[in-house]
Each structure stands twice: as structure tokens, then as C-alpha cells.
């Protein structure tokens, strides 16, 4: 039964990604600008902190990119896949040595990625606005993820559900 773990990894990655997609879709987006504030970031950070960089990358990249596809912004999907994937990875990688630092690093990756993309797509004048929304977005994410990951970690201990 060596494959149990691989299969479970795939499934858990997929389900956490679906959570990110759902959380991103739940809040009504301001069209196009990815200016929608939502709980997606909070879930990405929580998953990355609890389960590590690989899950962080999968749920961030895949989950958020699927939301772009479903909400009708396919153009942004590949960008999101890369940027949020990297963001989730960075948070997961750095989380063991400090959650706040990890989130700050992830936020930097996200903000830089989207600001540069915005520069290319809408002109450089738009980049600062994108940067601002990204900072708010990560702030919301951190406010959710820090308490959530801490309580989840404690509560799931010994229930056979923790990883």
C-alpha cells in the first residue's frame, strides 16, 4: 500500500486548491483588476504553514488560477499560477523559521509579481495601484492565517487528521 501517501497527497492538494478557488470566488470581485479582497490569501498561507511548501504552491497556484478561469479572466490564469504558486511555496518554505517573516516574504513575491505584470499589461502607471491592493490583500490573509493555523495545528493533533 505504498501508493496511499501519493494518492492522498494529490487529493489533499486538489481539495486545498478547491478551497482557495471557492474562497476567491465567494467575495464579489471588482471586475478584472483582481482587486477583489477575499479570504483566498488567508487559506493559502494557512495551508502553506500547516502542510509545507508543496501544498502551499499547489493550493496557491492551482486554486487561484482556477478561480481566474472560472470567473472569466483566463488571461490572468497563467500569471496567477506562477505568482501565487511561488507565493505559497515561499511561505511554506520559510514558515518553520517564523510565520510572520514567511508571510512577509510571500507577500513580497505576490506584490512584486502582480505589479510587474500590471506594468506590462496596463502600463507602468497602474503598477502602484496594484501594489496597494496587494498589500491590503496580504494583510487580510495574514490576519486570518496566523490565528487559524495556530488553532488548527493544536486542534487536529492526535485526531489522525493532521498531516
Amino acid at each position: 500500500m505504498t501508493d496511499t501517501t501519493t494518492t492522498r497527497k494529490i487529493v489533499l492538494g486538489a481539495l486545498t486548491a478547491a478551497m482557495v478557488t471557492g474562497a476567491t470566488m465567494l467575495s464579489a470581485p471588482v471586475p478584472g483588476f483582481r482587486l477583489y479582497f477575499n479570504l483566498g490569501e488567508g487559506i493559502i498561507y494557512t495551508v502553506a504553514i500547516l502542510l509545507g511548501p508543496r501544498y502551499g504552491a499547489v493550493c496557491g497556484g492551482l486554486g487561484a488560477a482556477l478561480a481566474d478561469l472560472i470567473l472569466g479572466y483566463p488571461l490572468w490564469a497563467p500569471l496567477t499560477l506562477t505568482i501565487k504558486g511561488l507565493e505559497g511555496y515561499v511561505v511554506g518554505r520559510l514558515a518553520p523559521s517564523g510565520k510572520i517573516r514567511a508571510i512577509l516574504a510571500g507577500a513580497t513575491v505576490m506584490a512584486a509579481g502582480y505589479s510587474i505584470s500590471a506594468g506590462f499589461l496596463y502600463g507602468w502607471a497602474a503598477a502602484p495601484i496594484e501594489l496597494m491592493t496587494d498589500i491590503v490583500q496580504t494583510g487580510i490573509g495574514a490576519a486570518i492565517a496566523l490565528p487559524l493555523s495556530a488553532t488548527l495545528k493544536r486542534r487536529l493533533q492526535g485526531t489522525g487528521l493532521s498531516n
Binding site: M1, D3, T4, T6, T7, R8, I10, V11, L12, G13, A14, L15, T16, A17, A18, M19, T21, G22, M25, L26, V30, P31, G32, F33, L39, G42, I43, T46, V58, L62, G63, L66, L69, I70, G72, Y73, P74, L75, L121, Y122, G123, A125, A126, I129, I140, A143, I144, P147, L148, T151, L152, R155, L156, L161, S162, N163
Partner: protein
């Protein structure tokens, strides 16, 4: 354009690259023609295609305006501190049009291809990189499962939110931080459900003989025929031709 998703993905990638290279009014007219042609072939009417842009129209206008006002250069006219420059008008119009075309081509892909077919196409396109350690099959499998569970998880979230609401939780009052905190009793049960479900589903998949991508076949195999090669060749030729042509006329 009901052909192999791989062909469609590659074509759209070529088209998107092409759009980035457009740099003259003539170029945009050419591209408009190409878009019209493609929408004819794919039997998606231009009105349907344009409707997909409506929610993003705000963004296109925003792009135009922001470039209009914030580009320095030869002033056309000034109103108080705001000056509109020749370069600004040009850049604003180009950026907006370029964005419009990018969105339209990307939407053309998603209008003609289901997310499932996209997942399969991406898996197949990425499979040559498997040897470099890229988990192409796993990514496609995850995309399939994620798509399947998005509606289920959203229903469950709704139910948990209502259950906590019924217990007096207040999700839409108070300051931002207070509201965010109120979501924690919703998110914890959601995570618990997800972990439990991951275990159950993994067992169910293995009971159905799932053992990774190796040795799997598919019910609808990809058929890369001459049609696909021709259309990809066509798209490539047209894009290269248009770009070269535009450079020589436009400049």
C-alpha cells in the same frame, strides 16, 4: 475549432505573443481581422465574444485613462495641473487595445474548451518535461479533482456559515479585524472536512485501482491529425506574417 485542446492552447500562446508585438494602428486593424476570422471558424459570434469583455470593460477604460494622464511628453493641452500629452493618448489607446485583444484571444480559448479539456491538454503538453521532474499527470489530476469539489465545498461553506450564524455569530458587523476573526469558526470546520475527505477519497481512488499516471489510458485519447498541424501552422504563419508586415508598413 473543435480540435485537440493541445493545438488550441499552443495557437493561443502564439497569438498572445503576437499581440504584445503590435505597435501601430494598422497592426490593430490586421489583428481585428484575424480575430474576426478566428471567431468565424470557431462559430463563436463576435457579439458573444464581446459580451465576455463587458465585466472587464472597466479595466480597459482604466488602463486607457491612467496612461493618458500619467505619460510625460509633448503636451497637447493642459487643464490646471493635469496635462494630456501626445504620447499619453497614443500609449493609452495602445495599451487599452492590446489588453482588449489579449483578453479576447484568451476568452476565445476558454469559450471553446472546457476546463477539463484544458487540464488534459496541459498535462499532455507538459508530459515531455516529466523527465525533468515536472509532475504533469499529478497536476492534471489535481485540477480535475479540484474542479469537481469546488461546488461541493462552496455548499458546505454556506451551510457552516449559516450554522454559526444561527448560533449567534456575526459575520457582517463590526470592524474589519472583528469580521475576519468571525470567519475562523467557519474555516476550522471546513479544514476538518477537507482533511477527512482527502482520506476517504484517496482510499476510494485506490480501491478503483488508481496508482498514479503510469499505465493509465483515457476514454477519449487525443487525436493530433493533419487538421491540427495545418491549423497550428496557419496560425503561426499568419501571426509572423502580420508582425513582419506591420513592422514594414507601420514604421
Amino acid at each position: 475549432h473543435r480540435c485537440d485542446p493541445r493545438c488550441k492552447i499552443m495557437s493561443v500562446l502564439i497569438l498572445l505573443t503576437g499581440v504584445f508585438l503590435v505597435d501601430s494602428p494598422v497592426g490593430f486593424i490586421f489583428w481585428g481581422g484575424l480575430l474576426w476570422l478566428l471567431s468565424l471558424i470557431s462559430k463563436i459570434g463576435i457579439p458573444v465574444l464581446l459580451r465576455t469583455v463587458r465585466p472587464i470593460m472597466f479595466l480597459i477604460i482604466f488602463t486607457a485613462i491612467i496612461n493618458l494622464f500619467f505619460t510625460s511628453g509633448t503636451p497637447l493641452f493642459e487643464i490646471g495641473p493635469i496635462s494630456i500629452t501626445k504620447e499619453g493618448v497614443r500609449l493609452g489607446a495602445y495599451m487599452a487595445l492590446r489588453l482588449l485583444f489579449l483578453i479576447l484571444f484568451a476568452n476565445l480559448l476558454t469559450l471553446t474548451t472546457s476546463p477539463m479539456a484544458l487540464a488534459d491538454g496541459i498535462e499532455s503538453l507538459l508530459s515531455p518535461f516529466k523527465r525533468l521532474g515536472l509532475p504533469a499527470h499529478e497536476m492534471a489530476m489535481m485540477m480535475t479533482i479540484a474542479l469537481r469539489f469546488i461546488p461541493t465545498l462552496m455548499n458546505e461553506t454556506d451551510r457552516i456559515m449559516k450554522a454559526q450564524l444561527a448560533r449567534g455569530a456575526d459575520l457582517d458587523r463590526g470592524g474589519l479585524i472583528k469580521r475576519l476573526k468571525a470567519f475562523i469558526p467557519v474555516l476550522i470546520p471546513l479544514f476538518v472536512i477537507v482533511f477527512q475527505r482527502a482520506d476517504d477519497l484517496a482510499v476510494a481512488m485506490e480501491a478503483r485501482c488508481y496508482r498514479g499516471g503510469g499505465g493509465r489510458t483515457r476514454m477519449r485519447p487525443f487525436a493530433w491529425g493533419t487538421g491540427e498541424t495545418l491549423s497550428l501552422g496557419f496560425v503561426l504563419t499568419v501571426v509572423v506574417a502580420l508582425t513582419v508586415l506591420e513592422r514594414n508598413i507601420g514604421l
